[in-house]
Symmetry: C2
Subunit: 298 residues, 2 copies
């Protein structure tokens, strides 16, 4: 197969395969646990941009691997991302009613089911990585390294830690260091893991895995700055979720701390500082992914 | 070291080491995510019976392995069990105020933190298994099999599925088949995984892993029947949590469906039917664990 050279081509070729893989990997919804499994499918399928999954696939390709081998880890990353959205939307957390243009899981299925759906999705992400040898012919040691990477990114030192700092921020002094911690955890960690997983299943050398992981971390940080900007300036009908919510919650964001124009500039700087990490790689698609992260409107 | 021969001796020797291992494996609680990590420690440390952890260690010993090698998977199983309690106690779930004689995590730290603590503990369990080669010298393939076992036990086909069926039960027809599904998922799955993990790190042959997993599944099922009985007859000051809650919630339980005496008889039958699975093993401690499960008062 001829390699697509731009991110748009890459996305057109691979996003449908990510969707098909997610459809295949999610449990089917049999009684008596049918409602939870049905709600798991609702939470994951349809409407996601799949930028993290595409990051996994693009990283695999950038190190000379076959993106098809990376479809299962890409699915695991999207499933884990979906869990974090389901729990983040809960009434006790951000209390959101709308996500990807539809009612959030707790609005559609109830709060207890939403808690269980998040738990089941988080667990499923690790089950999929545990089954990588069987599902994608990945060596056991590589699969186990993927488990470690994803767990470290998702845990209290990563995603959960970022969410916790985000919720606490209204009680804490709004410093640049705290803002950095929030963004690095909330979004940087999982983008970093996405690129690490892609590099690993592409059989990259350890220093390549590190470099791509750091690039992903910076890219995720920029993604979160843009997310904060979209909350200020975005169109809810395009976003598929409410906007203008951060200010009312006294969230600590880049626009709040630095203003809109400076924040926009900082997102681009964050990406540009990270680009040298891609040197020596066939990384046109990853550079295109970075542009998409900066220019996105949802 | 001379092997302790009864479960009481085994418990006296190993339970303190389980506690020390949990203390060591949990993150230390640094700012700005200190509150989540402090609450993780609160949720896991002190007060647990550690029967699942002791099941991991006893299974490792029963197949000729060293229980010390099984301390990390034992810790992972307890950490995962603690997550399930934290989320199960939430207001949207069972809404409990007391656990192990202290306020539940959401009562002590707030609901948002309790959701995040559960998420972080679930994630930590898989991180620990991912680090088994480094932490305990376990081969990568064995560690990855532990990841699969624990994820399958914890997900929508196991623990989460059991919780979901439990919550739905008030709307469903109270049949023996539904009751079986609830108990197999809620408690059977994780006890089954506990014994499988112990057998795996003890380097048991696959048929031994299966047999011990099935024994653990049956033992967990009996554990849940006894749990239902303790809700009817137990002393809250000994239990460390409220009793007499199932009836008010219209929970589907063995005492409700069959009566107290029959339920007690069924718990013992469940264990006795499972004992042949231990044939050919050095399983005195596991038999003692089964007696403890039946005779426990908390």
């Amino acid at each position: 197969m001829k390699r697509p050279e731009t991110f748009d081509h890459f996305e057109a070729a691979w996003r449908p395969r990510v969707e098909a893989e997610l459809e295949r990997l999610l449990p089917a919804g049999e009684a008596p646990v049918g409602q939870v499994q049905e709600a798991m499918r609702y939470a994951v399928l349809e409407g996601g941009k799949r930028l993290r999954a595409l990051g996994v696939l693009a990283a695999a390709q950038a190190v000379g691997g076959d993106p098809a081998t990376a479809l299962v880890p890409a699915g695991a990353v999207e499933v884990l991302h979906a869990y974090s959205l389901v729990h983040d939307d809960l009434p006790a957390m951000d209390d959101d009613d709308l996500r990807r243009g539809r009612p959030t899981v707790h609005r559609a299925f109830g709060e207890a089911t939403a808690i269980l759906v998040g738990d089941a999705l988080l667990t499923l992400a690790f089950e999929l990585l545990g089954r990588l040898p069987e599902l994608a012919g990945v060596p056991e040691g590589v699969a186990l390294a993927c488990v470690r990477d994803l767990a470290q990114a998702a845990g209290s030192g990563g995603l959960v830690g970022g969410q916790a700092a985000d919720l606490d921020a209204e009680h804490l002094e709004p410093t640049p260091a705290l803002l950095q911690t929030i963004h690095a955890g909330k979004t940087g960690a999982l983008f970093g893991a996405a690129l690490r997983l892609g590099a690993r299943v592409g059989e990259a050398a350890p220093d390549r895995v590190e470099a791509l992981g750091r690039f992903g971390q910076e890219l995720g940080h920029a993604f979160q700055i843009v997310d904060d900007l979209l909350d200020v300036e975005g169109d809810p009908t395009v976003l598929g979720k409410a906007a203008q919510k951060d200010a009312g919650r006294r969230k600590l964001t880049y626009p709040r701390l630095y203003g809109v124009e400076a924040a926009r500039h900082m997102a681009r700087e964050q990406v540009e500082r990270a680009l040298p990490l891609l040197e020596g790689l066939d990384a046109e698609v990853l550079r295109g992914l970075a542009e998409r992260v900066l220019d996105r409107v949802r």
